[in-house]
Every structure is written in structure tokens, then in C-alpha cells.
């Protein structure tokens, strides 16, 4: 009965490096969400998948951010040419139904520090 898992838990990147963050949702969950949480702030929506379809990517801050979920389960959030302002905790959440209007189960997050 594993929950949502994310890896790595911590990532330090030098400015300009590319990073890839992984999310393993709860098995069978249709919806998957990525959020960015800055220190002392609430989670900010980045993108949403329903199975393998990326239905909403309006929250991605720039074209350096890219997310995929090719087989409708595991998802990867990629950030190219990281900048210091990308430093944050990246949270992944999943839910069973195909909408966001239900309980979301969050993973532990990946804390990204860009130096």
C-alpha cells in the first residue's frame, strides 16, 4: 500500500544544469499533478495529467520546464538550464478520479537547490 513516492528527495544543481525529477503515483490513480512550493508559500500548480494526456500545463513558469507521463503512471518533471529562482520543493500528487475535484495524495517532494 505504498503512497506517492518521489525521487530524488534532495537535488543540488549548479546553475545551467538540467535536472529530472521523478514521481511514482499511487497505482491506478488517473490524475497526476505537479506543484512548486517555495519556502513559506502554498503549492503553486504547474501541470496536470489525466492518464498519459497532459491536460493543463498553464502553470509551467517557462519553456525550460517540461513534464511527461508517457505510460500513464510514472511522471517526470524536467527543468532545463536551471536558474536560482527554480530553487523550491517540487511536489507531486495523484488522485483516483479523472478530475482535480477530489482528494489529492501528495508525495514527500523533491527539494531542489540551484547554486
Amino acid at each position: 500500500g505504498a503512497g506517492v513516492s518521489q525521487s530524488p528527495r534532495y537535488k543540488v544543481a549548479k546553475r545551467g544544469q538540467d535536472v529530472a525529477l521523478r514521481c511514482d503515483p499511487i497505482s491506478g490513480h488517473v490524475s497526476l499533478f505537479w506543484y512548486q512550493q517555495a519556502l513559506g508559500q502554498g503549492p503553486e500548480f504547474l501541470t496536470y495529467f489525466q492518464n498519459e494526456a497532459q491536460l493543463d500545463k498553464s502553470g509551467l513558469p517557462s519553456d525550460r520546464f517540461f513534464a511527461e507521463r508517457p505510460e500513464g503512471s510514472v511522471s517526470t518533471l524536467k527543468i532545463q538550464r536551471t536558474q536560482q529562482e527554480d530553487s523550491a520543493v517540487y511536489l507531486c500528487a495523484s488522485s483516483l478520479p479523472g478530475t482535480s475535484a477530489s482528494e489529492q495524495y501528495f508525495g514527500p517532494g523533491t527539494r531542489l537547490t540551484v547554486t
Binding site: Y35, Q41, G42, P43, D56, E103, Q104, P108, G109
Partner: protein, 110 residues
């Protein structure tokens, strides 16, 4: 754009005192959810409110959804040290766009 405002940002109470956090949206919500995040942890779902004027209770926690479905509140009666954490509301609009408030960080002095 769609935004959920949450106040206060911080609340420090003596154990046994009550606590309330408020959320307000500029536009009508389809539903609102509440989450709790302990220090160093991740958000954990508490409850979802869907109906206009809905009130739900979980032990010492009371959740309300306004008649216009634009505001909500969470009230904790007789706080305990285990209530420490940040409480977030998350407003859901019809387009699968969930917006979190900035959160209210609650500290409880024993």
C-alpha cells in the same frame, strides 16, 4: 486571474485557545479542499466542501463553505500541540485548476 487569498499568515495561540483561518476567492469555486502540512512534511488532505453553505465537522475541526461559494473557513476548538502545522485551503475551479492559498502557520504554546 483566479486566486485564493488566505489569512492570517501566522497564528500563535496558547494551548486550549481556539484558532480560525479564512480563505476567500474572487470568483465562485466549484469546491474547496483543506490540507494540513506539518513542518518538513507534505500536504495531507483533511476535507472537501462542495455545497453552498456546507458545514462539516471532524472532532475539534469545523469547516464552512460560504453561501456564495467564494469563501471558506477552518475553525479549531481548544487547540492542542498536535495541531501545529500549516493549514492550506485549495480552491477548485471548473477547469481542473486548483489554487492553493498561501497557508496559515499555526503554532501552539503548551
Amino acid at each position: 486571474g483566479q486566486q485564493v487569498m488566505q489569512i492570517p499568515q501566522y497564528q500563535h495561540v496558547q494551548e486550549g485557545e481556539d484558532f480560525t483561518t479564512y480563505c476567500n476567492s474572487s470568483t465562485t469555486l466549484s469546491n474547496i479542499q483543506w490540507y494540513k502540512q506539518r513542518p518538513g512534511g507534505h500536504p495531507v488532505f483533511l476535507i472537501q466542501l462542495v455545497k453552498s453553505g456546507e458545514v462539516k465537522k471532524q472532532k475539534r475541526l469545523t469547516f464552512q463553505f460560504g453561501e456564495a461559494k467564494k469563501n471558506s473557513s477552518l475553525h479549531i476548538t481548544a487547540t492542542q500541540t498536535t495541531d501545529v502545522g500549516t493549514y492550506f485551503c485549495a480552491g477548485n475551479y471548473n477547469n481542473n485548476d486548483m489554487r492553493f492559498g498561501a497557508g496559515t502557520r499555526l503554532t501552539v504554546k503548551p
